[in-house]
């Protein structure tokens, strides 16, 4: 278990910096472009966006913790880093499947509310992306959990902002060819521009 470069007892300030930078300055959607497909498809209605956002935040937090734990325990000590992709994808798919079954047993209304979103999460690149970035930055288990939560929350923030704007856009006159993905991309660009303003607030 003597994994190299796993800072154990990470100070609270350090964790706060990771959280804020993951959610705002390094927003996984607006600066890393991850999770775009479901972002473009699901951001039409606020209610759906909120449901998917919550599900993504939850799954990203837990899978980042699991992925980091398995990575530092199973792969890193034996020099098997190249297998990280298979490990991560299996953990994510397995966890989402488990979560689906668990929710179906425990709360049927929640299952029907989240039902369609859960399978989508397996192929949401934000979840896998968060895992890959956390490895890239040598985060330990605690830091990874915070980073996962920050990334998920940032993603949720972005999709909620977009859903709010798109609900208003229903009354706007948009050139027909620009409707749908085109205008959504332009708005994303403007929101991303706004988020650039956060950079310099924290130094990761």
């Amino acid at each position: 278990m003597s994994a190299p470069a796993t800072p154990e007892a990470a100070p609270a300030l350090h964790l706060l910096v990771i959280l804020v930078s993951a959610a705002l300055t390094d927003n996984i959607l607006l600066t890393r472009f991850l999770g775009m497909c479901s972002f473009l498809a699901i951001s039409r209605q606020m209610k759906a966006a909120l449901g998917l956002g919550l599900a993504v935040t939850f799954v990203t937090t837990i899978t980042c913790a699991l992925n980091a734990a398995f990575y530092w325990a199973l792969l890193a000590p034996y020099g098997l880093e190249s297998l990280q992709l298979i490990l991560f994808i299996v953990i994510i798919a397995g966890f989402v499947q488990f979560l689906e079954m668990f929710i179906e047993r425990v709360s049927l209304p929640l299952y029907y509310a989240l039902g369609i979103f859960l399978p989508l999460i397996t192929v949401n690149c934000a979840v896998l992306g968060a895992a890959l970035f956390m490895v890239n930055r040598n985060y330990g288990v605690v830091e990874s959990t915070v980073f996962g939560f920050g990334s998920g929350a940032g993603w949720m923030l972005a999709i909620i902002l977009m859903a709010g704007i798109r609900e208003r856009l229903k009354n706007a006159q948009i050139p027909p060819a620009l409707e749908g993905p085109g205008i959504t991309l332009i708005i994303s660009g403007i929101i991303a521009l706004g988020f650039v303003g956060f950079s310099g607030m924290v130094k990761p």
């Binding site: 472009f33 994808i89 890239n136 650039v196």
Partner: protein, 214 residues
């Protein structure tokens, strides 16, 4: 045999333009917009993607009669992971400096909707050769768009093409930093989607006008 060849060619062309994953379906842009501010990085990423899509399709097709329907998704994901790991290892050894930047995105090729989309929609129902061409077409069509985005962003953002400076750059060119930053990718892609859709709509209108006076 002739019909197989025609079918195969049709699969290739359809995927490259008619059903171009980015213009028409706006899928799979996740992992790749981030690397399009430099053309060389984009080229590497595209090569990896074309390889992974085509090989996953051909393998999924070859295994289609032996894969139980219930587990086919996870089988496809694992196939894609295997091919992406190969790409990842090659990039790590051949282009270590670039791998540091695009490393995580190479891994994200796995969750690129195009791979799963083609495997699920085409490969599991067709023979390996058409499936290979279908995957190849989807990958190439996608790469074409990405290269175009990169070809707009790199000169505007850095004043270079494939890392080579534009002639006498200092004299007349002031780099447009926003193009190298994330918002630039959104704007360029949005304009391209807009143009492609407007063009498709015009074609459609022309076709309808031709058919109408009968």
């Amino acid at each position: 045999m002739a019909s197989t060849a025609r079918q195969a060619k049709k699969a290739l062309v359809t995927e490259m333009w008619d059903d171009n994953p980015i213009f028409r379906q706006v899928l799979g842009i996740c992992s790749s917009l981030a690397v399009t501010n430099l053309m060389f990085n984009t080229l590497l990423m595209c090569a990896g993607l074309v390889w992974a899509t085509a090989m996953t399709s051909v393998t999924a097709s070859a295994l289609r009669n032996y894969t139980p329907a219930r587990v086919r998704m996870i089988v496809q994901v694992l196939l894609a992971s295997d091919y992406v790991i190969v790409v990842d290892i090659i990039f790590r050894s051949e282009f270590p400096a670039i791998h540091k930047i695009i490393g995580p995105y190479v891994g994200l090729i796995i969750t690129n909707c195009i791979i799963m989309g083609r495997a699920e929609a085409y490969a599991i129902k067709n023979a390996p050769l058409p499936a290979f061409l279908d995957g190849l077409g989807a990958g190439l069509g996608y790469s074409g768009v990405l290269m175009l985005v990169a070809a707009i962003r790199e000169p505007l953002g850095f004043g270079t093409v494939f890392g080579l400076e534009l002639p006498a750059r200092a004299a007349w060119w002031h780099s447009w930093t926003i193009m190298a930053m994330p918002p630039g990718a959104f704007f360029v892609l949005a304009l391209m989607v807009w143009a492609a859709r407007a063009y498709a709509m015009r074609l459609e209108a022309a076709r309808k006008a031709k058919e109408a006076p009968k």
